[in-house]
Symmetry: D2
Subunit: 260 residues, 4 copies
């Protein structure tokens, strides 16, 4: 085995048996739901009841946002060109990037590093919140996980915090994030809401997730919707989606002749 | 609105409100789980208790199969080359094809057309099963959803049928599929098991799903595992995965000189 | 070597030497251009002077078509979401499908099968052209490679045929395709132009290419443009491209309350 | 036009006319080759004779490297799963990442910033070369574009420099890169060759390209080969490629029973 090309701690397969993180998958089906098994795959352990409830909320709260998401537009353009369903979904997932779901990772990193500093320096969440905001303000960069172009209060943030409190999982990272939100106006001169990316980031940090898994939550959340959009485009709409010429402004050089 | 570039029946977004298939998403979070909301996205309605249980089993039963899946190998090669997590997952989903998860769609089509014929011709599942197998045998094509290179009895099929019976969702399509399985030896000269693709195909057909959504189940099932594999490759293994030269046999022409 | 995991006839690599289809790649650089080496990779042989000229024309004639191509729209949406350049290009290539570049493959298959029948049955191009059109008309399916939503005469077709004549590569497949074009009005009641997909299909058939390589020509042609579009979107435009809400019509059910 | 959804300086299309960067595409076909038109798309201008020759060499010199490239392995796994050709190619391109082709971008950035400093501080290439290497050594990071696991002298680097000298395009960036190569042993204690990524980076910098276009050269170079590999996998090999179980080492927890 030492020389095996691949190594994995995730699962092993034998004839008539599939073992995931040590558990026979068939012992789990029907007892643990999709969110539980996602947790198992990512953490290596089954979740507690509280983590189970929170995990399910995390994977559903940003389920859909209509065409106001580059991933959905990309998936639908691809779907219109005559490809199998999974190709369009794949393109949609490729479009989850630093400006689209990526703030979960970035914000979780900020929160986790800040909480480490809080613990080291015995700082309060309120003090640390202002410190972090000022650091971003001074370097003239956006604070990931704050602000939204459509929502003035992100309903998904409200819901997640409600469930975090209800399950007893409300912890220092969410407390810090809320302290940051309430000080954005003071530091930046305008109120920036804690958006769903930022809130997911804070909650998964309280749950002990590695910040580098942040985009995983967004990918799983959006996959069923990308499938629904690709399906709708393929079977309810005309093929070969393209914008009207009036929607394309040409800004290049005027017509000219080549030297040869 | 008549002239809007996009049309969708899936969701709409207003400031502070996200509506999915008519429901305010925030009214659903915490009450309906991930499988329920996937059902809602794909069917337009919330599932009954029985459909909810079955849906969750369908989305978890083929969660993982280790590296014995081209999608996982592809995702891990991509992950090793220095790209963001979602890019590797996207490549894994692109690898779900006609020979990898695609049998769900193909088998669901076969089962649904066969049940229509059964109903029209008042044929029994046993008769129709043999008829379908013979048609494939005569055209010398494989029956989608049957046979497996590793498993002699697919444990996932056993589990799904158990849950289908328990929830009262066991219906004509699964009955037909099992009748087909028990006649494969008679028609093809060797026993071909009803594999998980074939069983999912039969169960979703009994639940009333459009066969063209078949790959959707496989995509959602495998996405958390693809994320786990990509993560493991990126953060636990060395970059730039490549086979040893001894694993690559060159079968091209001998060395030669170009005319110029 | 018998047990090597991979087999390939395309290239082999040794320390300080790369051999492509038998040729030391360094013996070719500077003497054979990009189109020649693409030909070598796909055919296993270096092209004649005529094939070289034609190949280059085939790979450049459909270089760009602005945003009127789902692949470009998809690539630009992906590029806007904060991902590396290659991810956006990859999504663009994923969008080359049956309705977008795919007609090359389909038409080349039609032309190659038709020419085989012509040879077997001693039919003239004119007779066979009408026969093929009538077969499509009777089955009520579109003839791949004919018709265009923007162009009334596809300038790319004109150019390719000019070069095919000039290089002496004008052959039976192009002759058949032109015979088909001139009979579309008779059979379908309206003139359908031989579009660039159809013309590429006919030319590569005359050159002896396998029809299943058809999309390869389109992919290579469009890749530099996809790179230019992704670059422009990433560095000249704002991130997170999304349509205005007025461009998204919601066609789903009215708002309602969930049972739970 | 002010309100058009898309803006592009790359091309415009009118009935029967396609204009690329101001030129009627049909005026170019047959006179300018694929490399020239790629240059036009990326620079906005047609190349000089020297730039044309160099461009073609840049786009062909790293054409193929067999399976010793994660992109090719990924593309072939995807191709084996039963998908269209372009899907496999798309996955291959997605695998071009920071460790696979990405050094072009990184090295071009290093060279361009270094040459700016040379000009500002009147430093010689030899001095600057050592300075840059020391900076990397002190920060304990690799110098992008140097070193290769297979080649002890990269034949592609030799060829590119030969053509750069021949066309008169050998400039300060390549000079700097060669000065760096000859000082790697002094600074790092072992000789690191200027590899093809590093050499392309230096040459395109001398030609005036934006370093952020670096991966574009690698993408275009590898696309025809990815097509050849995908085609070979689809039509010459068995479907559903998967490693033997002996090649997969399971490193997870031992088997255990779930609490429920």
């Amino acid at each position: 085995m030492a020389g095996a090309f691949w190594k994995t701690s995730i699962s092993k397969v034998e004839p008539n048996k599939i073992v995931v993180r040590g558990y026979n998958l068939m012992d789990l089906i029907g007892k643990y739901n999709y969110a539980d098994l996602t947790y198992l795959l990512w953490r290596g352990e089954l979740p507690s009841t509280e983590h189970s409830r929170m995990m399910d909320a995390l994977l559903t709260v940003c389920l859909e946002h209509s065409l106001n998401a580059p991933s959905v537009d990309a998936a639908r353009f691809v779907a219109s060109s005559g490809v199998p369903l999974q190709t369009a979904v794949s393109a949609g997932i490729a479009a989850i990037g630093e400006w689209h779901g990526g703030a979960i990772e970035q914000a979780a990193k900020v929160f986790q590093e800040a909480v480490t500093r809080m613990n080291e320096n015995q700082t309060s969440p309120a003090e640390m919140a202002e410190e972090i905001l000022r650091e971003h303000s001074e370097r003239n960069i956006k604070v990931p996980g704050f602000g939204h172009p459509t929502h003035t209060q992100d309903p998904r943030t409200v819901k997640l915090i409600e469930i975090a409190k209800h399950t007893g999982l409300y912890g220092t990272h969410v407390e810090l994030a809320q302290n940051m939100e309430s000080r954005t106006e003071k530091v930046f001169g305008k109120h920036l809401i804690l958006n769903v990316d930022g809130c997911i980031a804070a909650v998964i940090s309280d749950m002990g997730f590695d910040w580098r898994l942040g985009k995983g939550f967004f990918i799983v959340s959006r996959t069923p919707g990308l499938i629904a959009h690709a399906f709708e485009q393929m079977y309810r709409e005309r093929p070969y989606k393209a914008p009207d010429w009036s929607e394309i402004a040409y800004t290049g050089p005027p017509e000219r002749k080549p030297p040869k």
